[in-house]
Every structure is written in structure tokens, then in C-alpha cells.
């Protein structure tokens, strides 16, 4: 089973590299970094903190775009081209197909993210800045967890929707989970009755993606997270990934394919 999942993941890599999404994002990231490095801030040119902060923001943004864009087109792409019929005619189960697509999406987005981190680290070091190695490693691991969750969500939505709708839904949900859900608990006290209860339900039910964001720790040179806290967040991330992949499989395992519906 593992072998078949890895082969499917490999095809995701090949397809993504062929479509050059990663290269395009890398060019954007490099261009943005070059502009940031060239800024003349009130006559000063040797500042590095804002490059770290803006660079990490770009890395997060590009990793998110990549995970959603690659994830949502995998299953609908196979169905549109008709290759899903020959794929499933081989001894490949739907679970293996979903798992392989997710693994491929996650791994290529994670690899691109790691490469972006390396480029950013090089730029910061060249400018005379520094990174706390432990804090940065933790930030990267949790960032990779975040990418895994976003990839799984994208795959989940694409099992029942076409690529564009899945992308919109995945992007909206992950943005809401990152930006709005963390603050929603503060409003529950101001709302009473059904509305307050509903908001609280959303707060607990939706993924708390903000927990995976350790950018501030890297940018402001804080020390690494305590190990128990880090492990709790990493395990939470792993649980979310498995949950969404399982949901994707449940949504896909009985799906009847009809090319016309996808056109």
C-alpha cells in the first residue's frame, strides 16, 4: 500500500513541477526580497528585522497558495482527464489515491517552504542578521503541519466539488480559521443565547491554525517553545491532518464518477 501511495505522490510532484507553480512563486518571493533589500529606510540600508518579518509573511502566503492550488486540482484533474478510470482499474484503492494525492501535495508544498526558509535565512545572514536555530526549526515543523492541514482540507473539498469551488472554499475556511476563529471566543461573552452558543461551537469545531504560526518567535528572537507545548501543537496538527484525510476518503470512497458533471 505504501508503495502505491508513494508512486501517486510522485506523480503529484511531477505534475506540479511540470506546471511550474513552484518556480513562479519562487520568482515572486525572490523579487519581493530583492525589493525589500534595496529599500533605503530613512538613509539606512543595513536593517534586517523587517526583511525577516516580511520574508516569513511571504513564505507563509506562498506556501498557503501552493498547498491550496496543488491540492484542489488533483482529484478533479484526474476525473476531467479520465485518467481516474484507468487509475482505479489498477489495483489502487480510493484510500490510496486520496492518501497519495494528499502526501504529494503536502510534501511538495513543504519542500518548497523549506527552500524558501533557506533562501530567507541566507538573505538575513548576508545582511548581518541571525536566526535562533531551535526556534526556527520549531517554526518550520509547525509550518509544515499547517501545510499538511491545508493540503488535506483542499483534497477534502475537491472530492465533491470541482477545482475552483474547492479552492474558494478551502481558501476561505483556512483564512477564517487563521484570522477570525482565534478572536471569536472574545465575542461569545458579548452575545447571549443561540448566537453566542453557535460562535462558541465554531470556536471549538474549526481548526485553530493560528497555533502553527511561530513567526513572531523567529522574528523577535524569542527562545524556542517549551517541548510539551510544541508537542501538543504538533500532535494537534497531526490529528487534524488525519481527520481531514479520513473525511476525504469517506467522501470519495462511494463517489460515482460522471465526466459531464465536472465540465
Amino acid at each position: 500500500m505504501i508503495g502505491r501511495v508513494l508512486v501517486i505522490a510522485q506523480t503529484v510532484w511531477l505534475e506540479t513541477l511540470r506546471r511550474k507553480d513552484v518556480y513562479l512563486l519562487a520568482v515572486f518571493a525572490l523579487a519581493a526580497l530583492a525589493v525589500l533589500m534595496g529599500l533605503n529606510v530613512f538613509g539606512m540600508r543595513n536593517l534586517v528585522g523587517y526583511i525577516k518579518e516580511t520574508g516569513l509573511l511571504l513564505v507563509w502566503l506562498f506556501a498557503w497558495i501552493l498547498a491550496v492550488a496543488v491540492g484542489v486540482r488533483q482529484l478533479p484533474g484526474e476525473e476531467l482527464s479520465g485518467t481516474v478510470f484507468s487509475l482505479l482499474a489498477k489495483p489502487v484503492t480510493r484510500l490510496e489515491l486520496v492518501a497519495g494525492k494528499w502526501l504529494g501535495t503536502w510534501s511538495i508544498a513543504a519542500a518548497a517552504t523549506a527552500a524558501f526558509y533557506l533562501v530567507l535565512a541566507a538573505v538575513v545572514l548576508v545582511r548581518g542578521g541571525s536566526f535562533d536555530l531551535a526556534a526556527t526549526a520549531q517554526a518550520l515543523v509547525l509550518h509544515v503541519c499547517f501545510i499538511g492541514i491545508v493540503s488535506a482540507l483542499s483534497i477534502l473539498f475537491s472530492t465533491r466539488l470541482h477545482a475552483d469551488a474547492a479552492a474558494t472554499l478551502a481558501a476561505a475556511l483556512t483564512l477564517a480559521a487563521f484570522l477570525i476563529i482565534p478572536h471569536s471566543a472574545g465575542y461569545t461573552g458579548q452575545m447571549d443565547g443561540f448566537a453566542g452558543g453557535l460562535l462558541l461551537a465554531f470556536y471549538f469545531a474549526l481548526p485553530h491554525l493560528e497555533l502553527f504560526d511561530l513567526r513572531a518567535r523567529v522574528v523577535h528572537d524569542w527562545e524556542a517553545l517549551p517541548a510539551p507545548v510544541f508537542l501538543q501543537i504538533a500532535l494537534y496538527g497531526l490529528a487534524l491532518m488525519l481527520l481531514f484525510v479520513a473525511l476525504a476518503w469517506l467522501a470519495y470512497r462511494k463517489k460515482r464518477f460522471s465526466r459531464e458533471r465536472l465540465y
Partner: protein, 299 residues
């Protein structure tokens, strides 16, 4: 050889209109003329990005909000990314979130202060009328960062972008006072007094506090110039606005009774300028006395 393809015979000069070379020369001449005119018409230092025209076009009326966000980011960086967390919830997520952010209250110091400059720079680029961003940048550059040359440059840019804003002149005047250039300080403070808006509109309280500061500094400069009558006029104007300023009331009484106060104007100016420092509501000990300006903390 495919006979169906048209042959590319050499064009006879003048046979079908002007030769292509003439067109190229004409276009090149036009481009050169446009470039020369653009160089001629552009005012030095008025690059669209520098003057904020680019931001104005891109952001429109939201530029103030965007600038405010950059200013808030400068404050966040100044506090090393640590902010007060609400302790309203006690669930697992809130507990993890609390554990992720260090507690306490700390600031950047010395050269580290420079890390807030890019965000203040972006704030001024988004909205060149954000005088507070200019003032805070100049304050830290001249002070802890040890770059008064850059502070002067920042204030000159503020003045260029806000030629009718009293705060630009006030900051220039205070900077000159700090540098010991009293005639220049007096000129700028007089200009600030001329530009203070009249009326009771929004932000009047802040304007009144600024006006009191300018009058106080101007009064001290009058004292340095041996013009106590003018100094008393300034002090009385401040007392009329803020009757509770006992120190100034006492100073006026001393001038009236003895002709000169016990504390020299230069010493008092130095104290006031020192008090006009970063004042933080929590953490560090704040010595906010008379004339202390809380707004110089990135709020």
C-alpha cells in the same frame, strides 16, 4: 524552395513611404524628448514614491488606515512582539496560545531601536501626512539610536510633505532646541504658533497640549534671549489653558518678583526635553512630568 511564399525583395528607398530607419529615428527622438521633458519637469525629491503620490493613487482614502497599521506594527516591534493577552478564556486553545507568547514588558534599546524604522518608513510612505510617524522616527533616531543626522533628514522630509502642519515646525523647533541652536529653534516655534489651527474641532485636546508645549519652549527661548516680558506672555497663555500647571505658575511669580527665576531657562529646557521621552503606561518607570509627551511612545 516554396514558391508560394512571398519573396523579400529589398525595399527601394522612397518607393513606399519613408524608410523604416527614419521611423526608428523618429520614435527614438520622441522617447528622448519625453525623457528629457520628464527630467526637466520633475522636482528634485518629488519622486512619486517619495512624495506619497504612489500611495495616494494606490490606496486612496484608506492610506490613513494603512499608515496607522504600519505605525502599530512599529509599536509591536518596539515591544519585541509581546503584547498584553486577554485572559478571558481558560480552554485548551487559549492555554496553548498563552504559552506561545512570552509574558512581561520589554522594549528594544540602543541600536535595536532602529528595527522599528522600516515600519515608520512604510507608515510615512503610505501617508506622508502621518506626522506622528515622522516625529517618533526622528525622536528615536536623534536619541537612543544616536543618529541625529538622520533625524534631521526625517524632519526635513516631514516639513516638505506637510508645509502647513504646525507639528512639523514644532518637531523641527524642538530638535533645534535640543541641538542648542536657539535662534533656529525660535524661528521654527514661531512658525508652529502661526500654523496652529483655530477652532474647537476634533483633536482639539491634543492640539492644546502641543500648543502649551510650543508656548513653554518659546517662553524659555525668550528668557534665554533676555526678553522676560515675552516669556511671561507665553507662560500666561499656557496657564490660561492649563491652570493646574503649578511649576509654570511659580516660574511666572518668580519672574514678577525677582526679575528672573531660580532655575535657568536652559536647565529647565533640558529637563523638559528629557521628560519628553518615551513614556510607557506599563513596565518601565515613566517619569511623565509637566510637558512630558506620551505620544512619543509608539502607541
Amino acid at each position: 524552395m516554396n514558391n508560394a511564399l512571398p519573396t523579400l525583395a529589398p525595399r527601394q528607398p522612397g518607393a513606399e513611404g519613408p524608410a523604416p530607419a527614419a521611423g526608428v529615428v523618429f520614435i527614438a527622438a520622441m522617447v528622448l524628448m519625453a525623457f528629457a521633458l520628464a527630467c526637466r519637469l520633475a522636482t528634485p525629491g518629488a519622486h512619486p514614491f517619495e512624495s506619497g503620490a504612489f500611495a495616494a493613487k494606490l490606496l486612496g482614502v484608506t492610506r490613513g488606515e494603512v499608515s496607522g497599521q504600519f505605525f502599530s506594527q512599529a509599536d509591536y516591534v518596539f515591544h519585541k512582539g509581546i503584547y498584553a493577552q486577554s485572559a478571558s478564556r481558560r480552554d485548551w486553545f487559549a492555554g496553548l496560545k498563552r504559552a506561545m507568547i512570552p509574558r512581561g514588558h520589554c522594549h528594544l534599546h540602543e541600536e535595536g531601536i532602529l528595527e522599528i524604522m522600516p515600519w515608520l518608513y512604510f507608515a510615512t510612505r503610505a501617508d506622508p501626512h502621518n506626522m506622528e510617524a515622522y516625529a517618533v522616527a526622528a525622536y528615536w533616531l536623534a536619541g537612543e539610536a544616536g543618529r541625529p543626522d538622520l533625524a534631521e533628514r526625517v524632519l526635513s522630509e516631514a516639513l516638505r510633505n506637510n508645509p502647513s502642519d504646525y507639528r512639523a515646525y514644532m518637531e523641527k523647533g524642538i530638535f533645534a532646541l535640543k541641538s542648542g541652536d536657539y535662534p533656529r529653534a525660535a524661528r521654527y516655534l514661531d512658525k508652529a504658533l502661526q500654523c496652529v489651527p483655530a477652532g474647537t474641532g476634533q483633536g482639539r485636546d491634543a492640539i492644546a497640549i502641543d500648543l502649551a508645549s510650543v508656548l513653554t519652549y518659546r517662553g524659555l527661548l525668550y528668557e534665554i534671549e533676555e526678553r522676560p516680558v515675552n516669556a511671561m506672555e507665553c507662560y500666561r497663555a499656557v496657564i490660561a489653558m492649563f491652570p493646574g500647571r503649578e511649576g509654570l505658575v511659580g516660574r511666572v511669580r518668580e519672574i514678577e518678583q525677582k526679575g528672573r527665576p531660580d532655575q535657568s531657562p536652559k536647565d529647565l529646557a533640558a529637563i523638559l526635553l528629557r521628560q519628553r521621552r518615551h513614556v510607557c503606561s506599563e513596565g518601565e518607570q515613566a517619569q511623565a512630568g509637566e510637558g512630558a509627551k506620551e505620544h512619543h511612545h509608539v502607541p
